[in-house]
Amino acid sequence: MTETEERTGPPETLIEPIDMSKLDPKFRKEIHSMPNAEELSACFACTTCTAACPIANQWNYKPHQLIRMILLGMREEVLSSKEIWECLTCFQCQERCPQKVKVTDIFFDCKNLAAEEGIIPPNVLALGKSLIEKGQLYEVLNDWEREDLDLEAEVPGLNTDTIKEILRGTRTGRLVGGEK
C-alpha cells in the first residue's frame, strides 16, 4: 500500500450505509445459476481473496466485498463497477479461497450479466467488433517479418469464416450490432 496522505474523514471502516430498499434478493440466485458459481454462498468473508489480489489496493470494492455485495443483492453496484472489468483474471483469489468459491469465474459471470445489459467498456467492445469483422484480435500486418523467418506469409490453415458466423449469432453480434 502506498497511501501516505493524512486522513481527514472518518476512519475507512465506517462505510456508507447500504440502502436496503435497493437490494435485489434475486441477484444471488441469478449469479448462482451461472457457470462455476455453485459455491458462491460458501463465502464467509475471510478476505483471503483480497489478500491474494495484486490490484485490490486500488479498488474501491475489494474482491471479498464484491462477493458479499452479490450475496446481499447489490446488483446495480456490482454490474456497473469498474472493478469487474479490471479483474486481471489471474485466478490467485480463486486458487487461495479456503471455501472453494470460484471468485474469478464469478467475476466473469458478472461481466457477462453486465454485457447483457449493455454495460461494457468501449475498448472491450472494440475487441468484440474485431472478432465479428476480422475473426481475430490480431491480424498479420507485416508478412515480410514472417517471410524473413522462412514462415509462410499467410498463417497456414487460417479460416475466419466460422468464428465470424458463430459470434454473429451470439451476444457478441447483439452487442456489436447494437452499437451502430
Binding site: P54, F91, L127, G128, G157
Partner: protein, 288 residues
C-alpha cells in the same frame, strides 16, 4: 514420431513470428510433427469469455471438434489459447447440457465436439513426450551460468484443476539448457496484459513490479511461454524509461528461442533480432 494439431491463435503469428519460427524449428529437431490446424482462427481470449460466455464456448469447442477429426492432441504456444481451449474442454466434459447446446450450434458448421483429444501447451508436450534426457542429448551450446527468471503466466498455472500444469515442467526445461533458474518473490504474479484494454497505467505498473522483482533477484534474462506476457515484459520495458525513470535491460526470450540457442541454432533461426530488448548478452555468452 509424435504428431500434433498445432493451434497458433492470432497473436503469435501476427506479433511474434520469432516465437513461431523458433518453436517450429525446435520441435522439428526434437522429432515432433506439428500440423497447422485447418479452418481455425482466434480463441477469443479471456475478453470474449467476459462478454459472451456462450460464444466463447462454441468457438473453442469448434476448434476442439476440428482436432478430433484426426485425433491428435492440440498443442499451442499461447497461454491465452491454452487457457481458453482447456477451460472450455473441461467445462463441457462436466456439463453435458451445455455440450448439447454447443453442439447444436456447431452442427450448423458441420462440426461436433465429443471431448476425445487433449489440449496441451507446447512446452508440456516437449517435456512429456520427448523427455528431458532426450532433450539433454541435443544441447550442444549450454547456457552455463546464465540466470533466467521464468514468467509462467497465469493461464498456464491457474486454475490448476483446469490447466493441470506443474511449474516444475518449465523449470526443468530451462535447467536442461544449462541455465540457472532464478527464484524471485513475484513469480506467480500476473504480467498485467489482460487489463491493458481498460487500464493501461495499471498494466504498466504490473509489468514493472514483475521486472523489478526479477532484476533484484539477480536475473539476467527472462523467459516466457505466451505472446501476451512476452509483449508486456519486453515491449513495456521501453516505456518504463519515461513513466518510471527505470531501465531494466532484461532481455525477454520466448522459451523455444532459449532451447534453440542451446541446441546450436543461430540467432537468425530463432528470430532473436525481433526481441525488443536486445538479447546481446546471451549471444556474447554463446560465442565466448
Amino acid at each position: 514420431m509424435p504428431s500434433y494439431n498445432l493451434y497458433m491463435g492470432c497473436s503469435v503469428p501476427a506479433n511474434y513470428p520469432n516465437y513461431e519460427a523458433a518453436m517450429v524449428r525446435v520441435a522439428e529437431a526434437l522429432g515432433m510433427e506439428l500440423n497447422y490446424m485447418e479452418g481455425v482462427a482466434c480463441c477469443g481470449s479471456p475478453n470474449l469469455r467476459a462478454f459472451d460466455y456462450f460464444g466463447w464456448l462454441v468457438v473453442n469447442a469448434g476448434t476442439i471438434a476440428i482436432a478430433e477429426k484426426n485425433g491428435y492432441d492440440i498443442v499451442t504456444p499461447c497461454n491465452g489459447c491454452f487457457g481458453s481451449l482447456k477451460d472450455v474442454l473441461t467445462h463441457l466434459k462436466h456439463h453435458k447440457e451445455d455440450l448439447e447446446k454447443v453442439n447444436v450450434e456447431l452442427k450448423k458448421h458441420g462440426l461436433e465436439m465429443k471431448g476425445t483429444v487433449k489440449v496441451r501447451h507446447i512446452v508440456e508436450a516437449m517435456y512429456t513426450d520427448i523427455g528431458i534426457e532426450e532433450i539433454r542429448k541435443k544441447i550442444i551450446k549450454p547456457l552455463d551460468g546464465v540466470g533466467i527468471a521464468i514468467h509462467y503466466g497465469c493461464h498456464l498455472l491457474r486454475p490448476i484443476e483446469v490447466t493441470e500444469f506443474n511449474p516444475e515442467v518449465l523449470q526443468k526445461m530451462v535447467e536442461v539448457t544449462g541455465a540457472e533458474v532464478i527464484d524471485y518473490p513475484l513469480w506467480k504474479q500476473c504480467c498485467g496484459a489482460t487489463v491493458l484494454p481498460v487500464n493501461e497505467e495499471l498494466a504498466i505498473r504490473l509489468a514493472r513490479d514483475k521486472l523489478k522483482s526479477m532484476k533484484e533477484a539477480g536475473a539476467t534474462f527472462v523467459t516466457v511461454v505466451c505472446p501476451a506476457c512476452g509483449n508486456q515484459l519486453d515491449l513495456q520495458q521501453i516505456g518504463l524509461k519515461d513513466s518510471y525513470g527505470e531501465v531494466y535491460d532484461l532481455p525477454v526470450l520466448l522459451y523455444p528461442q532459449i532451447l534453440g540457442l542451446a541446441m546450436g541454432m543461430n540467432e537468425e533461426a530463432v528470430g532473436l533480432e525481433m526481441n525488443r530488448v536486445p538479447a546481446d548478452p546471451i549471444l556474447e555468452h554463446l560465442t565466448e
